[in-house]
């Protein structure tokens, strides 16, 4: 086959197709399209002032679709264009529809979770017993250690060095309880640590442990305090069980929280 002849066939074919799919559209068509679009815009704005409930969004989308069709048909020339171009742009709307419809079949049909009736264990601490918990004891420290391994070691590390695997990506890093208590941002008194356990520490990965009973939180805090190297402590007892000299150590984050948190007061009142 002659090389030049083949080229000529190709050229003629493409010129013919080009003119078929791209005729000279009269200018008036464009102007009329704009007018139609403006009218539809006015309609859609006016409808938005009328409350039609769920139908508002349907009307909005319907008019928008009509406007889009006008833009595509006349401004973008799809009315005169190849089937292929129309098919491709249509396919994108089809793909989108699939995405939205099937996502809706998930997001809009999830069963609402039933409120779970949890049997909340109630705290056994009475007001009279409070001082017993505010002071450390070997039993509390031992219990605290157990609770620590279950609840805290994942981030604070098995020895409380702040090197747990779960905490390695956190910023700031979990507290190393063997460090100087003066550097503990939220304080290292009985009250401060109780507060931190109850409310968490905002801006960090330390969550609230309100789910633990108050006696558990006391046990934990006494264990944690037992790890701190310095002796200046509020609430530590000596061998005879007498309270040591009370010395408030200001936490690095501000004055010590000397008042027990409201929630504990409420818990006590409720109890």
């Amino acid at each position: 086959m002659d090389h030049k002849h083949d080229d000529k066939i190709g050229v003629q074919k493409h010129v013919k197709e080009h003119h078929k799919h791209h005729p000279l559209i009269p200018l008036a068509v464009y102007v009329k399209t704009l007018l139609a679009l403006l009218v539809l815009t006015i309609i859609t704005v006016k409808i938005s002032y009328v409350d039609l409930g769920k139908f508002n969004i349907v009307a909005n989308l319907g008019i928008a679709t009509l406007k889009a069709s006008l833009v595509m048909a006349f401004f973008m020339g799809l009315k005169y264009d190849t089937v292929l171009n129309r098919a491709f742009i249509l396919s994108s709307f089809v793909a989108l529809t699939i995405l939205i419809v099937i996502c809706a079949s998930d997001l809009w049909t999830r069963p609402k979770p039933e409120p779970v009736a949890v049997k909340q264990a109630t705290s056994a601490i009475t007001i009279a017993e409070l001082p017993k918990y505010e002071h450390s004891s070997p039993e509390l420290v031992a219990k605290g250690k157990e609770l620590f391994n279950t609840n805290c070691a994942v981030c604070h590390g098995p020895q409380g060095n702040g090197d747990g695997a779960g905490g390695s990506s956190l910023s700031p890093k979990p507290r190393n309880f063997h460090s100087d208590g003066a550097t503990w941002t939220d304080g290292n008194t009985v009250q401060s640590i109780y507060y931190t356990l109850a409310m968490g520490s905002p801006g960090t990965g330390m969550a609230s442990y309100k789910s633990l009973l108050p006696e558990d939180r006391f046990a934990l805090l006494h264990y944690v305090m037992s790890l701190e190297p310095n002796a200046h402590r509020v609430g530590k007892v000596d061998a005879k069980g007498e309270a040591l000299e009370k010395e408030e150590v200001a936490g690095a984050g501000g004055p010590p929280k000397t008042v027990l948190p409201i929630d504990f007061a409420i818990e006590r009142v409720a109890h």
Partner: protein, 515 residues
């Protein structure tokens, strides 16, 4: 140097070829490290955090640096225009731009890897952890964003090329099946990739601004992230496998000297597979908290994906039947594909069964399944294609003995590595764990030893490629006696691919033996 600004699709294809082989080595190194760690229970070399980063990098590199670009970029670029009798792709400058976008995306990832030790979220970047973790998530996802554009533009280029640059006589049903496969892939690339691109960008914005679309603390929905992620990533696995299937459709008829059985069925099944792939993404999310209705829809439609794949498997097998089989290296890899992809595909249907997946999700059963389809499917087909078209692309013959040896190492190592993982998964071994219960020890040891055979096989392929480019025997135009257009021109082809524009008068697989 002249290559850096080349507009010749063949050179761009070669650049993709070497880049993706490099990517395979990087991803493979991560894999070997993972398997070394898992060789015995307990920590060998890497702590949990490092392990998490390693499997994230292995996945991200293999998916985005290697499998998605490899066959379309390397083989598609080189062969598509020639197979349809064209002089180049429709948009040569866009083609070069696509390649540079791939490099840019890889570099952004590399930055994250070197400066930030990568991410530890898994290649799926699920929220909310990917929002909270301090690791290099933004580098990883923005790299994916850029590489996504590379993929989109390649797809756009290929679709336009097929529609506008076929030579006289090249009707749609005279095109080689590799072209049908690349075309179907291109449709997926254009339609699906933007979704993951923008989702990755949204994740990056989320980390900086806290927009909350995917963050439950702010009223968002982490499962919505998964929907957007998998809306692309499921079609993506078909972006990975369809070109591979196209390669098999070329190698088997040529090396059985027999017309392909069911040409139209294979052509339509490529399109059909691409279309149905848009409807099944939620089968990756059966235990994510999707509603029961969505779970049901996805499981049901997933069953349908078996049909087009099965059509191809039957047709390839029927083509082999009573053919004059040439067991050269490409054919060995193609036969290997039939075995391993068969297993991969069937285990996919097992996983698509909702009730079964509830137990198998996030176990090594899933890991084995996707390695069987991705590595035992796409990668093995890629290797078949490398050897089949090596003479055409380089003008040299590869070393046949080393080629065959590489196949046996690969197929043996692959099945050992991943069959052991099926067993571990069936017994409940979870994935993405840096350690495991000692009851899985035997299977992990076997799997690790298998991985060394895979590595050896792949190393042999690379050595073969490099050695043969330099020292291989000069290749004739048509060493396989094949019928498609690329074999009717020189090895390698001239600049405009043909001395004169061909005119096609017959379908592509007219061998002596009919199917």
């Amino acid at each position: 140097m002249s290559w850096l600004g080349t507009l010749d699709h063949k050179r761009i294809g070669m650049m993709y070829f070497f880049t993706t082989l490099f990517s395979l080595c990087v991803g493979g190194t991560f894999a070997l490290l993972l398997r070394l760690e898992l060789m015995f229970p307990g920590q060998q070399f890497f702590d949990a955090n490092t392990y998490n980063r390693l499997f994230t990098l292995h996945g991200a590199v293999m998916v985005f640096w290697f499998i998605i670009p490899a066959i379309p970029g390397a083989l598609g670029n080189f062969l598509l225009p020639i197979m349809i009798g064209a002089k180049d792709v429709a948009f040569p400058r866009l083609n070069l731009f696509s390649y540079y976008l791939l490099l840019l995306g890889m570099s952004i990832n590399l930055y994250g890897l070197l400066a930030g030790q990568g991410a530890d979220t898994g290649w799926t970047f699920y929220t909310p952890y990917s929002i909270r973790t301090g690791t290099a998530v933004v580098s990883m996802v923005m790299g994916v964003f850029v590489m996504g554009f590379s993929s989109i533009l390649t797809g756009l280029n290929f679709i336009t090329t097929v529609h506008t640059l076929r030579c006289p006589g090249m009707s749609f049903f005279r095109m080689p099946l590799f072209v049908w496969a690349i075309y179907s892939t291109a449709v997926l690339q254009v339609l699906a990739t933007p979704v993951i691109g923008i989702t990755m960008a949204l994740l990056a914005i989320e980390r900086y601004v806290g927009i909350g679309f995917f963050d439950p603390k702010l009223g968002g929905d982490p499962v919505l992230f998964q929907h957007f992620f998998w809306f692309y990533s499921h079609p993506a696995v078909y972006i990975m496998i369809l070109p591979g299937m196209g390669i098999i459709s070329e190698v088997i008829p040529a090396m059985s000297r027999k017309t392909i059985f069911g040409y139209r069925a294979i052509a339509f099944s490529s399109l059909g597979l691409a279309l149905v792939s848009f409807l099944v993404w939620g089968h990756h999310m059966f235990v994510s908290g999707q509603s029961p209705l969505a779970n049901f829809i996805f499981s049901l439609i997933t069953m349908a994906t078996a049909v087009p794949s099965a059509i191809k498997m039957f047709n390839w097998t029927a083509t082999l039947y009573k053919g004059s089989i040439n067991l050269a290296t490409p054919m060995l890899y193609a036969l290997g594909f039939l075995f391993t992809f068969g297993i991969g595909g069937i285990t996919g249907i097992i996983l698509g069964t909702l009730s079964a997946d509830l137990h198998f999700h996030d176990t090594y059963f899933v890991v084995a399944h996707f390695h069987y389809v991705m590595m035992g499917g796409a990668a093995i087909a890629f290797f078949a294609g490398i050897f089949y078209w090596f003479p055409k692309m380089t003008g040299k013959m590869y070393h046949e003995g080393l080629g065959k040896l590489s196949f046996w190492f690969f197929i043996f190592g692959f099945n050992v590595t991943f069959m052991a993982q099926f067993v571990a998964g069936l017994n409940g071994m979870p994935r993405r764990y840096h350690d495991y219960d000692p009851m899985y020890a035997t299977w992990n040891l076997i799997s690790t030893v298998g991985s060394w055979f895979i590595a050896t096989g792949i190393l042999m392929i690379i050595v073969n490629v490099i050695y043969s480019i330099k020292f291989g025997a000069k290749a004739p135009s048509n060493p396989w006696g094949a019928k498609t257009l690329e074999w009717q021109t020189t090895s390698p082809p001239p600049l405009e691919n043909f001395d004169k524009v061909p005119t096609v008068t017959a379908p592509p697989y007219e061998y002596g033996l009919r199917s």
